[in-house]
């Protein structure tokens, strides 16, 4: 009996990500959810700009490449064009969603667009070589903050889930991590719920996945996951930030 194999919604090609990059795990979780919900034929993904810019090569579903940060806007159009027959998700990094795409993110959330957003937060700009991102931690050393992020000069990191949870619009916001097996399983449940919300017509669901970037953090993959545990998760606490259906049920 096969206990674990590559999901069918994930193409059988080698990904371009660096060794130990957790993008691969998150891709797989999304693909597993697409398989389990049986929505492969009608799912459309929107790829961002960033390390996951070539996500369209890895998912066996229709994919659209959006301009930098504009994935939620593109997804809005796709979903509104044929709301009954399409499941639309975006897959975005922190430089895409929390920086240049902040307006699109906030506005699609406040409109409660019926889309699913997978937000990968690794606290750095990966593709461009490790510059400081809006989500870089205070004191974090990056290419553009060689003495550590100075909050007096650069401001504080943006906590996307906390910020969006203040809006009345969004249906479901959860922050998960992929630093160990337990958290990976929890992350999958969150992603599945985000897709189910869309199928049930509930509205905007965002799952923030706290991820690692071994190359640009300058660590081994193992050390990077440890750094997630010790530094990222205390600053970005995991959990459900908004779940309107559960709130109503209470």
């Amino acid at each position: 009996m096969v206990v674990f194999e590559k999901p069918k919604a994930l193409a059988d090609v080698s990904m371009h990500y660096c060794p130990g990059c957790t993008h691969g795990i998150i891709h797989r979780l999304v693909a597993e959810v697409i398989d389990e919900l049986g929505i492969e034929g009608k799912t459309i993904g929107v790829a961002p700009v960033g390390c996951s810019v070539m996500a369209y090569n890895y998912f066996n579903c229709d994919m659209v490449e959006a301009a930098h940060g504009r994935a939620p806007a593109v997804a809005t159009g796709l979903k509104r064009a044929d709301p009954e027959n399409h499941i639309v998700f975006t897959y975005q990094g922190d430089g895409d969603l929390a920086s240049i795409g902040m307006a699109e993110t906030v506005h699609s959330a406040t409109r409660n667009e019926n889309i699913t957003v997978i937000f990968v937060n690794n606290a750095i700009y990966g593709m461009t070589g490790g510059q400081m991102a809006p989500t870089s931690l205070p004191g974090q050393v990056t290419q553009t903050s060689p003495y550590g992020r100075d909050v007096n000069h650069c401001g504080f990191p943006i906590k996307v889930c906390e910020m969006l949870s203040e809006l009345d619009g969004p249906e479901y916001l959860e922050r998960v991590a992929v630093n160990n097996v337990k958290n990976v399983k929890k992350a999958k449940m969150a992603i599945k719920k985000a897709f189910e919300n869309q199928i049930n017509g509930k509205g905007f669901s965002l799952v923030e996945v706290v991820s690692s970037c071994p190359t640009n953090w300058g660590m081994t993959p193992q050390k990077a996951l440890q750094w997630v545990e010790e530094n990222m998760i205390p600053y970005y606490p995991l959990g459900v930030y908004k779940d309107r259906s559960a709130d109503k049920a209470e």
Binding site: P19, N180, V181, P221, Q222
Partner: protein, 68 residues
């Protein structure tokens, strides 16, 4: 007994599976080299494997198939 199959040529040798294995059965085979130029992961003693699939859960490149 569980059976692990590795797509060795797609392995990037990151070692996340090695850390995830509760029985500490996986290693990065330093004496080998794959098509990509990495030393791939492999299992030392398959008879000890319990088929928990923790290695496959943590593998970013999805190269491990677990059968039980």
């Amino acid at each position: 007994m569980a059976k692990l199959t590795f797509k060795t040529d797609m392995c990037k040798g990151c070692g996340l599976c090695v850390d995830a294995c509760p029985k500490k059965l996986l290693i990065i085979a330093k004496d080998k080299i794959n098509q990509k130029g990495h030393s791939p992961a492999e299992i030392t003693d398959e008879s000890q494997c319990i088929g928990c699939a923790f290695c496959a859960t943590m593998c970013p490149d999805c190269i491990i198939t677990v059968e039980r």
